[in-house]
Subunit: 329 residues, 2 copies
């Protein structure tokens, strides 16, 4: 069962409800909508779905600009109640398109941590092929210790095993040179600790993130967030320049017509919404953070990801991996 | 006068010499080639240019895989001698396509620092429009203090003033949220210090780097290097996917023909070589680090950049800015 925060995101609640209806009807997922019952009932009625999806009451919500502090002051927000449902065992995962800072803070506060896990981390799949590279931490922890980076490796490996069925994920450490002595203190120490890890392939650099040379790339939340957003910005930039190039002459414009559809497909594949969103790993329950601007399609994808991860037993897998790794240090 | 390290780079010395000849003949630059005289004389003779460009002897060189330590052990390498020429006042700038770590270490060791400057930083122009955004530090300092970030702002501002004639450059601080309380300790403290800086526009995020919302973006060398390489990787990825998209159907392939030339132009504009390369700022002399894979064209562009910056008085400008800023802390 997925607890879906119906009030998180720029297009809540209507696009969230529309996404929920799709998830239930087209993919057979089980979910519950969390938010103000009257509003949600009406939105469901618009889809003729009032009898298909249960509603759990939450009259408050966190606005998109609100961060960690607001989440402490709103124990009855839709995201807090969604987490509560997981904590009580009524649901196995939470999906929200709310502000990342708000969802992370609420998840850390309201869900149980896993034994031995120092910090939960945000994992984001990058659109490499044949399977995505999982980058983490993408922003939950701006300040980390080397031991946390080692744990992030386990979290990411459990993700790659569960979502992509990679038996022995290749794990890389993000740094600024491919030699071990490069990078900062944090990375050098983490490199030492990780060298005992199965599947560790060593240092990777920024330009390796989209080449698929590792299944999991580990970094602190500050660097990871900058890297992720820099890549998003660069892809947007390249497409913008390309559009201008295509439109810059009539001949080129005519030439581009047969490609339009394919370019759109490519753009959609790169769209973070299509992948279901970021996942907060390391808590006793799966938390999927959909893009704040998600529309129905993105919400459906996020629900499918949450379902896949929780059915694949990612929480158990993480516990097992981290339990074993305790022997290392 | 530019001291050009003829032995640095994947295609040294032949492409370096060819670039030097172009720089002298097509752009009227004054330069001296540093390296083994016999080899360079022969290379110059191939271009019929033996009488046009003087040679300064350096029998040793740093290999591309050699970093900071090797530079200490080779006081007579071509890059060390090139720096020596600046230190002695025979040249005003150094250009090298050698390994970044080697050039940075040699520059720091052999050139004088500027009074008050804590650390030199690597500045890289990003291909925004109408003028490039200068990102620094792109990798010279993996570990920094907040005061260094404030100085990097001055270094970058002097660059934007000199190279792009921007009177009051807009300065941004790279972080992971647009609010002041976000980011790590380093960035929060730097934000406080920088708030008194003229032209400070506040925090910027990874996706802002290519939108041109700031003329200068300041960060530590670890984050800056990861961001830069992530963007390069993402642009390469987007073009690779695009090529595949274009080639994926005959119709699309036919359609693309009129665009080929324009796509190549776009790719070239994004090519770091076209911009002349990175600049090590904060030393008593301008050091331009061309891409290691530079061919003649890239070497010429690097020489032009060095000439422009040193004629524009960037060293004096930095001294003035940092001298004034001393009053702040």
């Amino acid at each position: 069962m997925i607890a879906l925060d119906a009030m998180g995101g720029d297009h809540a609640p209507h696009e969230i409800v529309a996404g929920a209806v799709q998830a239930v009807r087209e993919h057979g997922l089980q979910l519950v909508l969390v938010g103000p019952p009257r509003v949600l009932y009406e939105a469901l009625t618009d889809h003729d779905a009032a009898k298909e999806i249960p509603i759990v009451r939450a009259e408050e919500s966190l606005a998109m600009h609100e961060g960690a502090l607001a989440s402490l002051r709103r124990p009855k927000s839709s995201i807090a109640i969604a987490c509560h449902l997981v904590r009580q065992g009524h649901a196995s995962s939470v999906v929200s398109a709310g502000s990342t800072a708000g969802v992370v803070a609420t998840g850390r506060l309201r869900l149980k941590g896993l034994p031995g896990i120092l910090r939960p981390a945000i994992a984001v799949p990058l659109p490499t092929r044949p399977t995505p590279t999982v980058l983490l931490d993408a922003g939950a922890n701006a300040e980390v210790k080397p031991e946390m980076l080692v744990q992030f490796a386990h979290l990411g490996a459990a993700y790659a095993q569960t979502a992509y069925e990679i038996e022995q994920p290749r794990i890389g450490l993000l740094t600024i040179g491919s030699e071990a002595e490069k990078g900062n203190k944090l990375v050098r120490r983490a490199h030492e600790l990780m060298s005992e890890l199965k599947g560790f392939v060593g240092n990777v650099e920024g330009h390796d993130l989209l080449t698929g040379m590792a299944d999991v790339v580990v970094t602190d939340g500050f660097t990871g967030n900058v890297a992720l957003k820099s890549m998003e910005g660069a892809v947007r930039y390249a497409f913008g320049e390309l559009r201008e190039t295509i439109n810059s002459s009539r001949l080129a414009r005519l030439g581009a017509i047969p490609q339009r559809g394919r370019l759109r497909q490519l753009w959609e594949r790169l769209d973070p919404e299509a992948h279901g969103g970021a996942v907060l790993l390391g808590l006793n329950g799966t938390v999927v953070i959909a893009h704040g601007s998600s529309r129905a399609k993105g919400v459906t994808a996020a629900c499918r990801l949450a379902d896949e991860l929780s059915k694949g037993g990612i929480v158990t897998r993480i516990s097992e991996r981290v339990g074993k790794s305790h022997r290392l240090w």
